[in-house]
Structure formats: structure tokens, C-alpha cells
């Protein structure tokens, strides 16, 4: 059975690049455009992994991660951050809220694939 991944990003281009690349690799992808949708989709589909942009409207990636990591049903799902925030302090902040991996934008598709394979 194909692995399920929730991808959240408010930028439609990046969302489509990531989801298309993953689908090409045979993953089942659910797309979210903000943190709220990401949380809802996660609770609905119980995916194997979440790729989360950090800066999003309505609910940010940080808040979404906090909510998911606080929920016993979802806290074991690995979350990989995908953000244009490239400062060391930004990564620390993501790690502090409980994120499992972090990729800075821009990225190469091969890089994303190798990182998520490590968590699946």
C-alpha cells in the first residue's frame, strides 16, 4: 500500500512542485494551503509523514506542529519542515515546537526525497 503524505504550503507553485514530485514517486498526497487544513487532513487521513511550510496564513506551521504533537493520535507522525527561513534561530524555533526534520527553501527534489525516505 502506498504511503500517505500531507503537504502544506500557501504558495501554490511550491505545493504543486512538492506534491507532483511525490506522486511521481508513488506516494499518496493530500494538499493543504494553511496550518488549519494540514491539521484537519492529518486527523482525517492519518498520513505516514507531513511536509509543513512554517509561514502560512490562518494557522502557521509552528502552531500546527504544536497542535499535532500535543495530540496523542497524531504525535507519532513525523513532520518535516520546509521553509524559506534559513537562519539558525529559525531552525531552533522549529525544533523547539517538536519538528522532526527541516529543509530550507529552495531545495532540490532529490534532497527532499532522500530526507523523507529517512522517516518512512
Amino acid at each position: 500500500m502506498a504511503k500517505t503524505i500531507v503537504v502544506a504550503d500557501d504558495d501554490p507553485d511550491i505545493l504543486s512542485i512538492v506534491s507532483m514530485s511525490l506522486e511521481t514517486q508513488g506516494y499518496t498526497v493530500h494538499k493543504a494551503t494553511n496550518g488549519r487544513e494540514a491539521v484537519d487532513l492529518t486527523k482525517q487521513y492519518r498520513p505516514d509523514l507531513i511536509i509543513m511550510d512554517m509561514m502560512m496564513p490562518i494557522m502557521s506551521g509552528y502552531e500546527a506542529v504544536q497542535e499535532l504533537k500535543a495530540d496523542d493520535g497524531t504525535k507519532s507522525i513525523p513532520i518535516v519542515g520546509l521553509s524559506a527561513k534559513a537562519m539558525a534561530t529559525d531552525m531552533e524555533r522549529a525544533t523547539d515546537v517538536g519538528i522532526d526534520g527541516y529543509i530550507t527553501k529552495p531545495f532540490r527534489i532529490a534532497q527532499v526525497l532522500s530526507v523523507i525516505e529517512g522517516y518512512l
Binding site: I14, I17, A84, A86, K105, P106
Partner: protein, 613 residues
């Protein structure tokens, strides 16, 4: 020594002499109870008895009179001695010198001559009386018989000799007195100068002490109360206040006060224009001459029980920083010397105020700069973020198209998309490097130092550069001593340095060339050489090579993907570690980048090496 003390000493000596003579007279009478011994006894008694009242009167302030009487007494006694010891031929005449010296010591400068003349007259008188056989007993008592015609000649010669001696003695006495008084004056002058010097010294010390106290303060709020209190104590004035110019309100504000002045009283003085009376110059005691307003002001303070206003303007470099105002009452009159001592102190105080102002301004400027720096860093962070998002689409889509997801590409399409991808990554490198440099310059980059093993570090870095070297068939070799000690560095930053230098070396080396890394310990540091057989650097380029956006041939290097910031960052990182970096190069032959890293005092943790940020 004063005349009174001198006189009293002389008289005391005479009383003692009189007593001694008296004792000698008694002793002489016991051996030889003749007429002469009785005369000696009587003389001693008279001498003794006459000097005792002298002693008494001289101590009551009749020095002049006592001196005259004393000289007269001595003259009389000598004359009596002359008469009773043989008259004109008596050797006792030599004692006339005595009253002459006494006169020159104790009386006016002209008196010794008068006394000498008088003694001469007495002597002549004795001679006349002796000639007329008036002094019957004198001629019968002593003296050999002289032929009648010899007598006047002998007496004449004696008189002349006597007068000459008297004159010389008087002159000698005069000279003695004069030099004595000159000495005394010189001594007094020296003492006066010493006193003056002591005062100046004291003043200097107090200025130094006070100014040291002044410079210890960093704020006018704490400086002025202490300064006012100190200067008040120095002048022994208990009432006053200090005004300091405030740049923000453009007005003089009350900074300190001593004594019992009320706000109302101070306001009244300020309204009357106390600040305008003296804006510069030395401390000033206000008087009615300063103008009708000041005269009115003085009358006003008199009603409050004060008598004087002393203004001390605080001026440094033509800038009026403030004013000290003292009010004196009753006994607190200030001596001019004290007032002039206040001058330098007030200058010191003004300088201290000026320094405080400078320091505050510096702190303000510093704060502004810090704020600007923060803005710059924030701007860089924001810019980095804003550029990354569109770049993600550029790189992501290029990557996807190249991977063939969207269908087969022809050769030209592949070439163009690869170019888009490469340039996108170049832009990304540029953003990363600028961000790095900004962080280093803002002092925000912290090193996580640990012992780093060179061999392990190289093993981590070489695989990254090897593919590029292999493309150009460049041979990379390393020469590390077997016992090379670990260095004290941030492993990620050290790897960045190595990577930058190796990438550069490979970039500028022709095909089939070679690149080497060597290390050797040198004075607490490890010196690391990254040498290539590349195009080399000309002497003029070496000077600018570590500056930003410097590339030897930008058109050629752009195709290699350099940002022009690599060496600037490398140098900053080496500097941050406390090392140095330099270039040795020969155009067309190759270059060596030589940098030093401090040797670690601890053994290396092999797992730590090889980390890449």
C-alpha cells in the same frame, strides 16, 4: 630677632656680668683691702644695680630709653674707670669701644658717631682736669712721672688713635647691624616665598583631588551635588545652588543645592536673570556696579539675611555648561585668594560636564548605530526569506522538468533549463554568502569551538570537491605529519574554510593540474597550505583578493559559480578563530593560500570532525 629680645638678652648678660664682677670685687678685697678694690666693688655694685631696672623697663616696652640710658651708664663707668686708673694714660680708655658698639647695635645708625665724639670729649675733659690738677687723687694713685713737654704729645697721639679705633668700631658695628638686618629681611622674604609656595601647593593638591572626584561621575545628576558641596566647603559657604544647561529643554535647570534655599528663592533669582550676569570668566562677586538689576537683586537677598552673591560660570571651550551661585551671609566673607583658587576648579568642573555631555552623545550615537545594525540584519533576513520563495519555484520547476515528469526534452530545452537551474543556484549561493557575511560583521556569528582533527576534517571535505576535480583531471594530495595536533576551531566553520579554499583552488587550476593540502605546527598554531598549479594572482590583485566581490576575471569565474564573497567570508572566519590568512602566488605558476588555526589543548573527538553546516 626683634630689638626687644636682643636688648633683654644683652641686659641679662650685663646683670650676670655685674654679679660676677661683684663677686670678683669681694674676693679681691679679701686679698688686698686697698682703695682700688673698694672702687672695683663699688663699680660692680653700680653696674649690677643699674642693669636690674633696665631689665624691668625693657620688658615693659621702653627699649629706646633703656638703650640710651645703658649707653650713657657704660660711658660714665668707663670714664670713672679711666679717672681712677691713671687718667689720660690709663689703659681703661680702650673700654670706650664698649658703649660705641652698644649704640651701634641698639640705637639709630648715627648714634655710634655721636657716642664716639662724646667719649672723645670726656677723655679730653679728663685730660684738661688732670692738667689743672683737678683730679688730685688720680695723679697720686698711678702713673709714672712724664717730662712736662712729652705729655701733650702722648695724649694727642692717644686721642687720635682712640678716635680712629672708635670710628672704625662704630663703622664695624654699623656694618654688622646692616648685614644682620639684611639677613633678617632675606630670611623673611624666603619664608614669605615658602609660605606662598605652600599655599600654591595646597591649592594644586585640592584642585587635583577635586578634579579626580569630578571625573569619576558619569552623570551631571550625581556630579553637581558633590561638586557644589565640595566647593562650598572649600570656601566655607553654606548656601548655594547649581544650574546646568539642558540641551533638550534649551534651558538652565536646577541640578543641586546646599543650605536652606527654597525653590521659590531660587526661582526668584533665576527670574531676575542671575544666569545672564556672568556667562564666562573667573568667579565673580556681584556688586551694585554690575547694573541696576544686580543692585536690586542684592537688596532682595539682604532681606533674606544674605550679604553677597558669588557667581561661578562653568565654561569650557566657549560653551556655557552651567553656573554655580553661592550666597554668603554675615561672617562668611570670601577672601580673594580663595576666590581665585575657585577659578581652576570651576574650569575642571566645566570640563567634567563637557565630558559627560560627550559621553552621553557617544552613547546615543552608539545606540543609533546599534539600532541601524539591527535594522540592517533584519532587512537581510527578510530579504533572504523573500528571495528564497520565488527561487524555490525557479529551481523546483527546472528540477522537475529536467527529471522528465513533464515529458521528453530535446537537447536545446535540456541545455536551457539546466542553465536556469544553475543560475538559480548561483543566486542562492549569493544570498547565503551575503547572509553569512552580514552575520559575521554584526558579530552575531558564534563559534562552537572544540578540538578538531585535521585528517578527519579533510576526509569530510574532500568527497565534496573530488567530483569537480575529477572532471578536470586534477590530482588532489594531502601532506599531514602523522602526529599533527588537533586545532581549536568550530568544526562546521573550519570545514567551510577548507571547502572554500579547495573549491577556489580547483576552480582556477587548469586541466591535469594538481592541488595539495599541507599542514605544519608553528608557534602554537597549525599552518595550513592550500596550494594549486593554477593561473596565479598578480601582485596588485593580491592586495584586494580578500575584499568583497573581488574576482580576478569575473566573466571567466561566473561560469564557475563563484559569488565573489567566498574569500571575504574565509578571511572573516579565520580572523574569528584568531588565525591569519595570506596568499603567496606567482602569475601563471599557481597560488598558495596559507592560514593558521590555534592548536587545541585537548585531544580531538574524531566524531566531531566532518560536520558540515
Amino acid at each position: 630677632m626683634e630689638l626687644r629680645e636682643q636688648l633683654s638678652e644683652v641686659i641679662t648678660a650685663r646683670v650676670i656680668l655685674g654679679a660676677a664682677l661683684f663677686v670678683a670685687g669681694i674676693a679681691y678685697r679679701l686679698f688686698d683691702p686697698g682703695a682700688l678694690s673698694l672702687q672695683l666693688l663699688i663699680t660692680a655694685m653700680v653696674f649690677f644695680a643699674a642693669n636690674v631696672p633696665f631689665l624691668y623697663f625693657s620688658r615693659r616696652g621702653h627699649e629706646e630709653l633703656v638703650s640710651i640710658l645703658m649707653v650713657a651708664l657704660d660711658t660714665a663707668i668707663v670714664t670713672a674707670a679711666v679717672i681712677y686708673t691713671g687718667g689720660v694714660l690709663s689703659s681703661a680708655a680702650i673700654f670706650y669701644v664698649w658703649p660705641i658698639i652698644s649704640a651701634s647695635l641698639l640705637l639709630a645708625p648715627w648714634t655710634p658717631y655721636i657716642v664716639a665724639a662724646f667719649c672723645g670729649l670726656l677723655y679730653v675733659g679728663v685730660w684738661v682736669l688732670q692738667e689743672g690738677n683737678a683730679l688730685v687723687n688720680a695723679s697720686t694713685i698711678t702713673g709714672p712721672e712724664f717730662p712736662k713737654n712729652w705729655f701733650p704729645q702722648t695724649v694727642g697721639i692717644r686721642l687720635a688713635a682712640f678716635l680712629l679705633i672708635a670710628l672704625l668700631t662704630a663703622m664695624l658695628g654699623q656694618a654688622l647691624v646692616r648685614s644682620n638686618s639684611e639677613l633678617r629681611q632675606a630670611k623673611m622674604r624666603t619664608e614669605g616665598q615658602l609660605e606662598q609656595m605652600r599655599l600654591v601647593n595646597e591649592q594644586l593638591r585640592s584642585i587635583e583631588e577635586t578634579s579626580q572626584v569630578f571625573v569619576q561621575h558619569h552623570e551631571a545628576v550625581s556630579l553637581m551635588p558633590e561638586a557644589l558641596a565640595k566647593l562650598g566647603r572649600l570656601m566655607r559657604i553654606s548656601t548655594g545652588f547649581a544650574l546646568v544647561y539642558n540641551e533638550n529643554t534649551e534651558d538652565f535647570q536646577l541640578a543641586a543645592r546646599i543650605g536652606s534655599l527654597t525653590d521659590e528663592q531660587i526661582d526668584k533669582l533665576r527670574e531676575a536673570g542671575i544666569v545672564q550676569i556672568r556667562q564666562s570668566g573667573p568667579p565673580h562677586v556681584c556688586s551694585a556696579d554690575d547694573g541696576p538689576e544686580v543692585a536690586h537683586l542684592l537688596r532682595t537677598i539682604e532681606r533674606g539675611g544674605y550679604s553677597e552673591i558669588i557667581l561661578v560660570p562653568l565654561t569650557a571651550k566657549d560653551h556655557h555648561f552651567g553656573l554655580l551661585c553661592f550666597l554668603t551671609s554675615g561672617s562668611e566673607r570670601v577672601r580673594p585668594a580663595k576666590l581665585s583658587a575657585l577659578g581652576p576648579l570651576s574650569s575642571q568642573l566645566a570640563v567634567a560636564l563637557r565630558n559627560i555631555e560627550f559621553t552621553e552623545e557617544l552613547a546615543r550615537k552608539n545606540e543609533e548605530l546599534r539600532h541601524l545594525d539591527e535594522l540592517k540584519s533584519d532587512f537581510m533576513a527578510t530579504m533572504s526569506h523573500e528571495l528564497r520563495t520565488p527561487l524555490t519555484s525557479v529551481i523546483g520547476y527546472s528540477d522537475m522538468i529536467l527529471s522528465g515528469v513533464t515529458g521528453e526534452l530535446n537537447e536545446k530545452q535540456t541545455q536551457f533549463i539546466e542553465s536556469i537551474l544553475k543560475n538559480g543556484e548561483h543566486l542562492l549561493n549569493l544570498i547565503n554568502d551575503v547572509l553569512d557575511l552580514t552575520k559575521i560583521e554584526a558579530g552575531r556569528l558564534e563559534l562552537n569551538r572544540e578540538p578538531v582533527d585535521l585528517r578527519s576534517a579533510l576526509l569530510g571535505v574532500l568527497p565534496i570537491v573530488k567530483p569537480r576535480a575529477a572532471d578536470k583531471r586534477i590530482k588532489i594530495s594531502t601532506f599531514l605529519p602523522t602526529d599533527v595536533p588537533p586545532i581549536d576551531a568550530d568544526p562546521a566553520k573550519f570545514n567551510q574554510i577548507l571547502l572554500n579554499l579547495l573549491t577556489n583552488a580547483i576552480k582556477y587550476t587548469h586541466e591535469n593540474g594538481s592541488v595539495s593540502v599541507e599542514a605544519r605546527p608553528k608557534e602554537g598554531f597549525i599552518e595550513i597550505w592550500v596550494t594549486d598549479t593554477g593561473i596565479g594572482i598578480s601582485q596588485e590583485d593580491i592586495d584586494t583578493i580578500f575584499q568583497r566581490f573581488t574576482q580576478i576575471d569575473s566573466s571567466a569565474s561566473r561560469s564557475q559559480g563563484g559569488t565573489g564573497l567566498g574569500l571575504a567570508i574565509t578571511k572573516e572566519l579565520v580572523d574569528l578563530h584568531g588565525g591569519e590568512i595570506k596568499v603567496v602566488s606567482k602569475l601563471g605558476k599557481g597560488s598558495s593560500f596559507v592560514f593558521t588555526m590555534p592548536i587545541s589543548q585537548e585531544p580531538a573527538d574524531h566524531l566531531a570532525a566532518g560536520k558540515i553546516s
